[in-house]
């Protein structure tokens, strides 16, 4: 349990909101566009259109805020580190000084800018993965890659590999927990002691995990072939999805936010 819970980034929070029901491809494109927008901005204020769109999206999704807070946790260290570095090591007009430590106005501004950038990037991706099941997401990626199949990229196979990998992440995490429980019950102390001891303590977990993963892969291959899977044959989709009105709203909103940022940067 504990292990799977710490993997929030890329975790699904099921729901029935408009954000959940809209097309994965639409959300994926929108996420990419918003991320581009985040990188286009050169001043903190220019984030406003994206932040506004994101806040509306989070509100409409009805996913609890603490779910987003947990998504920020893994990159908390990165955020703190960059902010601290920006505050203390940016040259400019000093606003506060003590011995050799100096805080500059430029440093504070840059720190705020970077902080917003990291938080926005994370929240945008958490909103996507929280509101979209992994399966829908891989379908969306394969749709996105489809044009590349004309130039010889095996997009269907890539999508299959991705969806199998996604499908088995929880299974393998569960398996890992199962093996940890068994080894701990045999007196194993995992992740304790000196570095060498700690490395060694992972052997009784990793070897069984590899053994079972190979066995699982074999079983899966047999099961797929038994149900008529052939590499390279054309594939249909079980959940065919049609474009809906709120998909258009998301795309329009994204376009508005992105163009807002670009126009702001160019003309203000």
């Amino acid at each position: 349990m504990a292990l799977s819970r710490s993997f929030v980034l890329g975790q699904h929070y099921p729901g029935t909101s408009v954000v959940h029901r809209s097309g994965a491809l639409v959300k994926l494109v929108s996420t990419i566009a918003l991320m581009i927008g985040v990188f286009v901005a050169t001043k903190t204020a220019q984030y406003i259109p994206i932040a506004f769109f994101l806040v509306v999206g989070i509100g409409v999704s009805r996913i609890p805020l603490r779910f987003f807070a947990r998504g920020l946790k893994p990159i908390l260290f990165l955020i703190v580190l960059t902010v601290v570095v920006q505050i203390f090591f940016t040259p400019g007009t000093p606003v506060w000084q003590f011995w050799f430590v100096r805080v500059t106005r430029e440093g504070l501004g840059l720190a705020g800018f970077i902080l917003c950038r990291l938080v926005l990037l994370t929240l945008v991706s958490v909103l996507l993965t929280a509101s979209t099941s992994p399966i829908e997401l891989t379908d969306a990626v394969s749709d996105l890659l489809k044009p590349l199949s004309h130039i010889g990229v095996p997009s269907a196979e890539i999508a299959l590999v991705m969806s199998i990998a996604m499908r088995f992440v929880p299974t393998i995490l569960e398996e890992t927990e199962r093996i940890i429980r068994a080894q701990v019950s045999r007196g194993a102390r995992i992740g304790e002691g000196s570095l060498v001891v700690r490395m060694k303590s992972f052997i009784p977990i990793l070897i069984p995990l590899f053994v079972s993963s190979f066995r699982r892969a074999d079983d899966l291959a047999v099961a797929m072939e038994a149900r008529g899977f052939r590499v390279g044959s054309p594939r249909t989709r079980y959940h065919a999805r049609h474009f809906q009105s709120f998909d258009a709203f998301i795309l329009l909103g994204t376009a508005a936010a992105l163009s807002g940022v670009i126009l702001w940067r160019l003309f203000l």
Binding site: R181, Q183, V184, S185, R186, P204
Partner: protein, 287 residues
Amino acid sequence: MSIELKNVDYVYDSGEPFEYFALRGISLHIDDGAFVGIVGRTGSGKSTLVEHLNGLLFSARGDVIVDDEIVSNERTVLAKVRRRVGIVFQYPEDQFFAETIFEEVAFGCRNYGFSKEQVDESVHKAMSTVGLDPERFLSLSPFQLSGGEQRRVAIASVIAMGQKYIILDEPTAGLDSGSKLAVLTELESLRQTANVTVILVSHNMDEVAEFCKQVVVLDGGTVAFQGSTDAFFSDADLVDRTGLELPQSYRLARALKECGSTLTVNECSTDRMLDSLRLCVSDLGGA
């Protein structure tokens, strides 16, 4: 000295959309030296309950007490409790990692700081207990054994640590019938010779009727029955309500009673049932 649970609750994903009470107000008592069955339909909380007994899970409310020690997340307590309570999980052969069976079985002993001689002795003893010849097997790889042999090595790797309580979660799942019986008989002899308390989680009611004197019946995360196995299986309505099946021997005894037969059969094991049936029939023939 015994294992005792007082009003134990356990909640999965507390505060999440999937929040779910796996255990609700569980109180039970397991005597030293007993052979206790834990039964219940799939999802009734058996595995969750078992993981409380050696501190893999901690109750949300209520106390789990192992030999006067309240199980808690504290290091020293955990070490003591795990030293006393061993668990053989479902499909325990999935935990194999060592190059030889000796290393596999010795893993737990080494973790608990046994001396070289103690390790040697414990491994040999554990292998003999599960009916595998140490001389023949110890230098083989655990991966080259048959399913039944692998299961026994996995059980040996737990009992080698010499714990006072051994919990087995479906130890006979996926074994052929010969190995099933052998594994359980070995556990019974371990209980008698080393005074080990054996707790058996099982879906096989014939097994439970034959080997467990006492039984804890779980239903929807609560204790539906606790007491003698015979008393439980004699209450056919309760067995049905808790989603379980009567053992073959009890079904036969019941069928005989229903058709007004005066034949009485021994109910606790299918073999003994057949023996007493043979006896009855030859008596009838003789009369």
